[in-house]
Structure formats: C-alpha cells, structure tokens
Subunit: 263 residues, 2 copies
DNA sequence: CAGTGGTCTAGACCACAAC
DNA sequence: TTGTGGTCTAGACCACTGA
C-alpha cells in the first residue's frame, strides 16, 4: 500500500466513523506531514483522493472541510415540462409540493455568452446576453443545482420585461409566449463534463468531481428558432436520472405456452 | 501565463492545426523538458491538461498518442426498449439499420459482483455472478460504449442457456422470459462518475475524463425482482442525450388574444 | 494572516506494457 | 528495452481568501 493510500485510508475511515463530522476540518497539511513522516506532495495526493471522492472540500483559510454529502436524488425523467403555480418551470428534481430554497442571491447579469449557451441559442460566441443565475436545493440541503437561464437578445427586444427584476405573473416564459413566441416547445440535452472552477465553487463541490449538465432549449412557435436556454448543472454524486421503460411493439414476448417458434 | 499552460497551449495548437494527427505521438517528456527548459513535473502537468481534455491518451511504450475524437453522438432518449431482428436489445445510441462493431472479443465470466451491479440486482457485494462484457461502437469509430450484462444467479438457474456461449434465438432475454420471468419490465438509471482504470483502458479514454453510466434493470413479471442488469459506460465527450419535451397540461399557455387574465 | 491552492525545480525509484 | 505512469523527497515562491 502506497504511502498516500495509507494516509487517505486512515482519513476516510475516520470520516466514515464520524471522528470528523460534516463541517469539521481534517488535520492540516503540516500535521499530516509530521504524523506520517511524509512529504507535502504525498499528503496532498492523499487529500486530493478524498476530494475526488467528494468526502472533503478545501476551504481557504479554514482548512480541508468534511463535506455534507446529502446523498443522491432520484430525478424521475418524463417527457413533460412542468410549471409551478407561479408559472415557472419546476426543477426536474422537485417532488410535487416539496419546498426548495435558493442559496445566496439570484443574479441577473448581461455577460459575454459562453460557448455552450451560444451554441444552444444559435449565437456568436463572445456576444453578450442576459443571464439569470441561481443556486437551489431542496430545503435544508446543501446546493443541489446551479441554474443559468439565457434569453436570446432578440427575444429580450420582443419582451423587455424578461430583463426586469420582476418578470410579472407567470415569469419570463409567459412574457415570451405573450410576445408572439408561444406556444414554446422544448428539447432537453444531457451531457457529462467536469465543472468550471466557478461552477464548482458555487455548488460547494470539488473541481475533480464530474457534473451532469441538463440543458433545456425553448423554441419559438413563430420564428422556429431558440429564444431561451436553461442550463442546469448538478454535482455528479447528487443525482440519478430514473426512467421507466416500455416495451417497444417490435420487442416481442413469446411465452412458453405460445410455442409456435415463428422465425 | 504559467509555464505548463504555455506548453499545453503549444501542443494543443499543434494538434488542432493537424501537425500531429490521430494516432501520432507528441514529443516525449525528455524532449519537451529540454525544449522548454522545464522540469518533468511541469511537462507532465501540461500533458495531463491535454489528457483531461481528451486530446491525447498515454499509451505505454509508444508515448502520448493523439486521440481519435469521433465527436459526440446524440442519443435520442425515448421510453422504449428496442430489440433488433435477433431479439437483442439495441444500443440506445444506434440508429435504425446502422452497422455496429465489437472491439476485442466479448467476454463471458463469472466474477465477484461489484457494488453497483450488486445494488441493482439486490445481491450481496462480493458474491459471484455471470457477466457478459463487450465494447462496441458504430462501424469504423473508436470504442463508444462498454456494456456489462449481469444475470442474477437465480435466473441463471431457471434458464441455464443464458450462461452458454450461444444463448439461442432471441438471445438471453428470450430465455429469461420463456423461463417464466416474462414479460420483463425495465427501468433505466443514469449517473455521472469517473471511470475505473479498467473501464478507461477498454474505452481508450483517460481516467480523468468522466463517463455516463446508463444502467437498465430487467424485472421478472413472476417474482417482481430484478433478474438482469445491463450497465453501459460511455466516455463523457462522446455522448449527449436528447429528449423532445412535451408541455404538461398544467403548463398553460395564454396567448395575447385570450387576455382574460384568470389567476 | 494562516492555510489552503497552485506552480515549480531537481532529483529518485519502481511498475507496466508494448514494441 | 523504452517511455510512459505513478510515487516520493525536500525544498521554493506566490496567490487567494475568509476568519
């Protein structure tokens, strides 16, 4: 067993035993170096392993903190866009009636549009667009998802209220639909990738843990072009998509009583 | 710009320019150390960055090889289990009639069941079970998916032919259904994680790139318990799940002509 | 301002796997 | 046998940032 493996194992066991609880810090680097007679590199390699596993997260000035692992949420995937009583699209992970909270304060900025959002909206990379950004989770849990909503500049021109702080009853989607783009239709794109540093920071997750990216693009019924894109980033250890499958008509089932053996 | 960033940028540009083509090796470590006057650590950090991006993959003895990036496949997700003319479940990524190939030779082993498969089949971890393992891709492309099929030991007892090399017409699923478990019903579970070293090796991908894990569990109509689980691992840069969404009945659309503003 | 993160040097040894 | 991967030592300096 390698030295860093031994250090990592000891720390992992201690965390799993509860010697260190969520929010506690594990011993800092100089102490681990002394305790194991190891170089800083070896200690850092050990802690990096725990970080990749999502057990701990380094926090500047405080030390390496044991992460609150809230467990995996099963996200039931259907084919429906659900909207809550205010008209906002419900998080796919939300159970009916379940209270959700916002972490920090939601942002509303006009920023240079990154490659992925530009691709989804059919824009040039580097142009600026309106972004709404918020971090949410089920009530009482650590951050679950980072949600960015991008609105196409043309659509903002059609429905200026979508750029306001208060988008009015039913939210920005109703404004877009009223402005001649309704009824919107949506497609969903799911990818796997590593988080950008700012995404990881906002989600309280290590950059070495992958995320699931769920992008939903709303297309105008009038122009048949994308008008809004919502990109949802979820830490990989927090989510599992679940779907009940049906048997396709071609997926025959022959039971043993019906034994005519047709090719 | 950090030294390793500069090295990484130069190599990235050279690869994108086509100076190094898929299958070529980039200059090896001693040469890069000399060319940039950098330590091995700095050079390795630079190459590690390219590896994370999926541009290159280290191959023992050959060097660091430029990866054949076959691009992302859009996997249209529906709710149906499709089976081909032989009765086998079709890869979700397969287009109708598209030829697929197998990489290496399919394996059929009785091995200790890992945690994930045990969980899906409701077995104790460490017990042994029958695994069929194969790596497939669309014809002519590098490995796309690693598919492991696990069959519950009880189900093997019910339908011994599923453990044979030739599982007969319609494949193992027909054998299970004939043995009294039909019609099977399936659920699908999608997760995000980092690959195990052997998974990464079989898929020709770096261990620092995430994978999408798509698990399909078949449940017996008779016992109402899982009888088979198929776990499909796909490199994160090769796949995108796509779903067309429908509007839920509650997701009202009010057009501007119908302006009665009902709360 | 302490304790991380990140970068960097200049060495070392062993394992592994493909050519 | 060669060129990786991986591990390790023993240093160094700077940046960041939250208590």
């Amino acid at each position: 067993m390698r030295r860093y493996e031994r250090i990592a194992r000891d720390l992992r066991d201690a965390i799993n035993r509860g010697d260190y609880r969520p929010g506690d810090t594990i011993p800092h680097e100089p102490e681990l170096m002394e305790r194991y007679g190891a170089s800083r590199h070896a200690v850092r390699t050990a802690v990096a392993a725990l970080t990749r596993e999502g057990l701990v997260i380094p926090v500047r000035r405080r030390g390496t903190v044991v992460r609150d692992r809230a467990g995996r949420r099963r996200v039931r995937r259907g084919l429906l866009v659900r909207r809550d009583h205010r008209g906002y699209v419900m998080p796919a992970a939300a159970r009916e009636g379940e209270p959700w909270q916002v972490h920090g304060r939601p942002r509303r900025d006009t920023v240079p549009i990154p490659a992925r959002a530009a691709e989804l909206l059919g824009l040039e990379e580097g142009a600026t667009a309106l972004r709404r950004r918020r971090v949410t989770s089920p009530e009482g849990e650590p951050p679950f998802q980072l949600v960015d909503t991008w609105i196409h500049p043309d659509a903002v021109a059609d429905a200026p209220q979508v750029a306001e702080r208060d988008t009015g009853p039913g939210g920005y989607l109703d404004r877009l639909e009223e402005a001649g783009h309704g009824p919107l239709s949506w497609a969903e794109y799911i990818r796997v990738r590593m988080p950008a540093p700012d995404e990881a920071r906002l989600l309280g997750m290590p950059t070495s843990m992958p995320v699931m990216e769920i992008a939903r693009v709303g297309t105008s019924a009038r122009t048949n072009a994308p008008v809004e894109a919502t990109i949802c980033i979820i830490p990989g250890d927090r989510v599992e998509l679940v779907t009940q499958l049906r048997r396709a008509p071609s997926a025959r089932w022959r039971d043993r009583s019906a034994h005519h053996d047709g090719s």
